[in-house]
């Protein structure tokens, strides 16, 4: 018994028998008012449109609802003819028409597997493969993984590389470096998550919880026992969301308390409270941050690692120019450089670096200064020509222990820098000139003049170099990493 026959038999027993129909193809002749498809209902249709009922009972229309209301959206006589299904088949190449019709049958049984036509924004994806198993298939035995947002130049990346080297030395196995938050080409023991295809789309197009699941699956399937998160948004998201809790011991790096221009504290320092319950140990590279982690966040297991810096012999630079080398971004306060350069018109400033986060709006002002020589971007301190340099100027608003200052010190260069984060640990005790964080350009100018006017400056440079040589050694770092590893076990 078909639905229609039942309808006729049970409800309209006095109605004439079915005499065929037109398949609902004469929409143009329909005398009925327009109605939205979502209002469609067989019962209502007949109750509110008696002529349609008559038409139906007379056998002139087999599917009156579709004919009158769902002409271009709902199924017609044969589901496979439906423009709606056709449209879905066009949009979602992975689904054959037959499968779509199969899904439509499920929808007809009350199972919510097809979006209704009234939900044009329903998200559909055709998935052919999931990523994340490549490492396990490769059969490489990793024990440690370092998750980093990127792997280019910079202090954070230096920590990643040094940590990987130390872990290899300590465990006898390579550490897997996972680049989680930016494009990267990968490489030996480097897995760039951007190379994964997740749900038939690029990794970075997937929802963040999905990405976190993939990260967790990689760590589990590769047999990783120790995870080190170094400024990675994804790893820290996964840690907070307890994605990694059951699969590995976790260490998390926090290097600084970032201060926005408004004074708001940003960065991962804001997340420490939610990271802490799922982290076995925190580590940083400066003692001040270590004390913040212990005293402000009440963390017990905090390690301060001195990132190694190669010793460089040679004379202390004694040129007449001032070096300013950094990202030309708002947090480094290039506006302060501009102001200082204006106050010291007789002194040349050699500026290295390029904007990364703040756009180009400082560049014009910098290039306009007659006593500024813009040298362009650099990828390593070794690229900087120090022959004319006698002082390194670092004007940042906040920082951890800035690697570039350590590099300058290792070359015996006298540094004038803002006393934020771990900078006083580097330049204190006569190893450079510290400027209070709330001081203006005049304070920097005085310090610079003092550097060039004082007989003590070469001694400052030597002390700085000796400090780096004594503290920032591979041995110190390896021992620190060893303590960190032990505390995670």
């Amino acid at each position: 018994v078909t639905d229609r026959d039942y309808f006729l038999q049970e409800r309209y027993r006095d109605a004439p028998p079915d005499s065929g129909g037109d398949g609902g193809s004469s929409a143009a002749s329909a005398p009925f008012e327009e109605q939205a498809p979502s209002n469609f209902s067989q019962e209502l249709f007949f109750l509110h449109n008696p002529p349609a009922l008559k038409e139906y009972l007379a056998g002139n229309s087999r599917f009156p609802f579709y004919r009158h209301y769902g002409w271009d959206q709902l199924w017609k006589a044969r589901p496979s003819d439906s423009p709606y299904l056709d449209r879905l088949a066009q949009i979602y190449k992975g689904l054959s028409l037959e499968l779509l019709v199969g899904l439509a049958r499920e929808r007809g049984r009350g199972k919510d597997v097809l979006p209704v036509p009234a939900e044009p924004k329903a998200r559909w994806k055709c998935v052919s493969q999931f990523g994340g198993a490549g490492l396990a298939n490769a059969g490489i035995g990793f024990e440690c993984a370092i998750v980093t947002p990127r792997l280019g130049i910079g202090g954070g990346e230096k920590v990643v590389r040094e940590l990987a080297a130390a872990l290899r030395e300590l465990t006898g196995r390579p550490a897997l470096i996972i680049v989680a938050d930016s494009e990267h080409r990968g490489g030996e023991n480097v897995l760039a998550l951007c190379s994964l295809n997740l749900e038939d789309q690029p990794f970075f197009s997937a929802a963040i919880p999905k990405r976190a699941e993939v990260l967790r699956d990689i760590i589990v399937s590769a047999g990783i026992k120790f995870v080190f998160s170094i400024n990675s948004f994804l790893a820290n998201y996964a840690i907070q969301g307890e994605y990694l809790s059951d699969c590995a011991k976790i260490a998390c790096a926090v290097f600084s308390v970032p201060l926005l221009a408004s004074g708001e504290i940003g960065g991962f320092a804001r997340d420490v409270d939610w990271l802490a319950p799922n982290v076995d140990a925190f580590f940083t590279e400066n003692a001040l941050m270590g004390s913040v982690l212990r005293e402000h966040f009440f963390l017990e297991t905090v390690h301060v690692l001195d990132v190694p810096e190669p010793f460089r012999d040679g004379p202390v630079p004694t040129g007449e120019n001032i070096l300013w080398a950094s990202r030309i971004d708002e947090e480094k306060r290039p506006e302060l450089l501009i102001e200082i350069a204006k106050l010291l018109p007789n002194r040349n400033f050699e500026v290295w670096g390029s904007p990364l986060l703040s756009g180009n709006h400082y560049m014009e002002s910098i290039l306009a200064l007659p006593n500024v020589i813009y040298r362009g971007p650099f990828s390593s301190f070794d690229e900087l020509d120090l022959r004319e340099i006698g002082c390194y100027l670092y004007t940042t608003r906040y920082d951890g222990k800035p690697n570039i200052v350590v590099e300058a010190m290792s070359r015996g260069l006298v540094c004038v820098a803002t006393a934020v984060g771990g900078v006083p640990e580097l330049l204190g005790e006569g190893r450079g000139r510290l400027i209070p964080s709330d001081a203006g350009a005049h304070a920097y100018v005085s310090a610079i003049l003092d550097v060039f006017g004082s007989d003590q400056s070469p001694g400052d440079g030597e002390r700085a170099r000796a400090f780096v040589r004594a503290v920032h050694t591979k041995e110190n770092f390896r021992n620190g990493v060893q303590r960190l590893l032990r505390s995670m076990q």
Partner: protein, 703 residues
């Protein structure tokens, strides 16, 4: 020296509690300099070891503090326990991970001093309620004495939290009642504010003060839980409501007229930044570098009107609450009345209260029936959560409710929301299905199943026999149908629009029960246990039957009817074979994901000797019986009930005695399996994959 008591509640705040306690110590020291002695009662309610140890340790540094340990698991009860230990006249509350502005204590004490004896009827709150950490907002407080405020608005939303100060005697007059999450009742502060207002107390604001509320994931909170409303309150009982006939006398002020946050607000917030960096976001707000949701809580007048309307009916002998979408019901209210009249309760006339969506062709006068038009509430600005709470309030304040839920085929109603709180008063619940058959777009099955899943023992009545049969098949529930009801419905419908049907009680229809088949021929099946093991379901002799495959079905994953038939009748394979559906539908809130297993890729991986990881993304796997049976027989012989999935997979990926490895095939043409994320989470694919590799590695080393 002036004095006051402070109750601070802790549960599992861990380090966050230490931050708050450090602030408390600073506040106590600051107040001491002002000549005020603050006596702290630090209440640990089922605290974890970390929190207990931390609070106990830091409490030693807080003058005049006492640590109390209680075992309620209930914020309301633990607050009451703290109050019981306070001897001071004025009591303050603070949650163990929040902060208040330093000036709050001084200003509140000054406020009560200025009020004199009248202060005993007042409950003071901070002017601002400020979210930080995971939720950023600034909420302006409300004074319950304000002409703009209608207390019945508390039926739909929360206005007064426990960031309060009041005379100790208030708690003697109106004790804090513990919440009852299991019973569907939460928000003890909301309930307490209802009770205090009903008993003549007023909630008022102390200007220039702020409470800083830490937004956090729900799992960290003891007091908050979804799907909860305050318990029954005197405030909404007919005697109180009917005695307060007037609506608020002034319109609610608009949010855009809110005064700018002043220097005192920011200065007080700044003093707290050293205690929690998260509060520094207010610096950006101050500098204009960030915007934040700054609002005054409120609900439209229609909410209070609805409460008054409900209170006006005489529900002492029970009430019938009717949910319906009148646009879906031919004959609208007249037809509803006609059907409800068929469910006569021994001739008793019970008042009916209608909760209606849509607009009927002919609208009865507002005073003709007791109706709340949900569309009007929405149009006035009431959000869905507020409407759900308002509806729940009608149930909570009643004792004997019959529900007639006319299920709309197109729109899921709010009937099932807050079910735990509603069900205490429900005597009968009927889902009435008027559709003639379930068409392709019907949401009826979904709603009916939702109501049953919410724990409501509802009867589902289908007017048409055809619909009853289809519902039984699709929802797999028992469905009632009465021929007399169908006949009455069909015969009367042609005149429904104009004819008023008399509300004459009639004998209950004689229902026949359409029940789902007791058992459907099922396939031999395995389930996942502890994420990496598989267990056999059912009788062992199923394994010796004729089925070609042993199926692993994750969680509540389902297969289409056609797929099930194919699974039952699949042909036996002579080679190790794993069969998968041709299409997997993963249901997600944000839209379904359609996953077509790439057989070629997976078979290539098997041939290479690597693991086809996609296999573990499929919720239904068929393992050919010839290969599976010996594995299970060995398991039975060793008296074990489960096996690692990795071990089972190894039998297929690297089978003994076969030259070729497992072949991955489709179960059949157009085979479809549906699952959701929770089904897939039953299986830890990464650990299974790791297990396979380790086994392989061990085997390779042995060789």
């Amino acid at each position: 020296m002036k004095s006051a008591g402070l109750v601070v509640n802790f549960h599992c705040e861990r380090r966050l509690g230490m931050k708050t306690l450090r602030f408390v110590r600073a506040a106590v020291e600051h107040l001491e300099q002002q000549g005020i002695a603050l006596h702290c009662r630090l209440v640990l309610d089922r605290a974890d070891e970390f929190t207990r140890s931390a609070v106990s340790g830091l409490a030693a540094g807080v003058p005049r503090s006492e640590v109390l340990e209680v075992d309620f698991g209930n914020l309301g009860a633990s607050r009451a326990a703290g109050v019981a230990r306070i001897d001071e006249k004025i009591v303050f509350f603070l949650d163990g991970d929040d902060f208040v502005s330093f000036n709050w204590f001084e200003k509140a004490l000054e406020f009560f001093r200025a009020q004199g004896a009248g202060g005993e009827k007042l409950i003071a709150h901070t002017q601002f309620f400020v979210g930080f950490d995971k939720e950023l907002f600034v909420r302006l407080g409300v004074d319950s004495r304000d002409d703009c405020f209608d207390a019945l608005a508390l039926a739909a939303d929360w206005f007064f939290c426990n960031n309060l100060a009041c005379h100790r005697s208030v708690f003697d007059a109106v004790p804090i009642e513990p919440y009852d999450h299991a019973g569907g009742f939460g928000a003890e502060d909301w309930h307490w504010s209802c009770e205090t207002i009903a008993r003549g107390f007023a909630h008022c604001l102390v200007p220039g003060t702020s409470y800083f509320y830490r937004g956090k994931p729900a799992k960290f909170s003891l007091g908050s839980a979804g799907q909860l409303v305050p318990r029954r309150s005197t405030l909404f009982d007919p005697p109180w409501v009917n005695a307060q006939a007037t609506l608020r006398t002034k319109p609610a002020p608009r949010d855009e007229a809110l005064a700018a946050l002043d220097a005192e607000f920011y200065a007080e917030a700044e003093r707290l930044v050293p205690f929690d960096f998260g509060l520094s976001y207010l610096r950006s707000l101050h500098a204009g570098a960030r915007e934040v949701y700054y609002f005054r809580p409120g609900v439209p007048d229609e909410v209070a009107q609805s409460v008054r309307q409900f209170a006006a009916i005489d529900g002492t002998g029970g009430v019938d609450i009717i949910h319906a979408d009148v646009e879906r019901i031919p004959g609208a209210i007249a037809k509803i009345d006609d059907i409800v009249a068929q469910f006569g309760d021994k001739g008793a006339q019970r008042p009916r209260f209608y909760l209606l969506e849509g607009r009927p062709l002919e609208l009865p006068p507002d005073d003709a029936i007791n109706v709340v038009w949900l569309d009007r509430l929405k149009a006035a600005g009431t959000n869905e959560a507020q409407i759900s709470r308002l509806i729940a309030r009608f149930f909570i304040q009643s004792t004997d409710v019959r529900v007639f839920n006319f299920v709309s085929p197109r729109k899921r109603s709010l009937a099932s929301s807050l079910a735990a709180a509603k069900r205490h008063s429900i005597s009968v619940w009927y889902n009435l299905v008027l559709e003639y058959g379930l068409d392709r777009f019907s949401s009826t099955v979904t709603e009916v199943k939702e109501i049953l899943a919410a724990g409501i023992a509802a009867e589902t009545v289908a007017v048409f026999a055809k619909t009853a049969r289809e519902l039984v098949t699709e929802a797999e529930i028992s469905v009632l149908h009465a021929t007399s009801l169908e006949a009455r419905y069909v015969s009367g419908e042609r005149t429904l629009a104009t004819e008023t049907v008399a509300q004459t009680p009639a004998p209950a229809p004689s229902f026949e029960v359409h029940s789902p088949l007791a058992s459907r021929e099922s396939v031999p099946r395995m389930e996942i246990a502890d994420e990496i093991f598989v267990e056999f379901c059912g009788e062992a002799d199923t394994l010796t039957g004729t089925s070609a495959y042993l199926y692993l079905i994750l969680g509540d994953a389902t297969v289409s009817r056609e797929t099930l038939a194919i699974m039952e009748n699949a042909a036996l394979s002579s080679l190790p074979t794993i069969a998968v559906p041709e299409l997997i539908v993963r249901k997600r809130d944000t839209g379904n994901v359609y996953f077509r297993p790439d057989l070629a890729q997976m078979n290539a991986a098997v041939a290479r000797g690597t693991f086809p990881f996609d296999l573990l993304q499929i919720p239904v796997l068929g393992f050919d019986m010839l290969t599976a049976r010996p594995v299970w027989e060995e398991l039975v012989r060793s008296n074990r009930t489960r096996i690692r999935l990795a071990r089972l997979l190894r039998e297929y990926l690297n089978p003994k005695g076969y030259r070729t490895k497992a072949n991955l095939v489709f179960l059949g043409r157009n085979t479809i399996a549906t699952c959701d994320e929770s089904d897939m989470r039953r299986l830890d694919g990464a650990r299974v994959a790791l297990g396979v590799f380790r086994t392989e590695a061990r085997r390779a080393n042995t060789v």
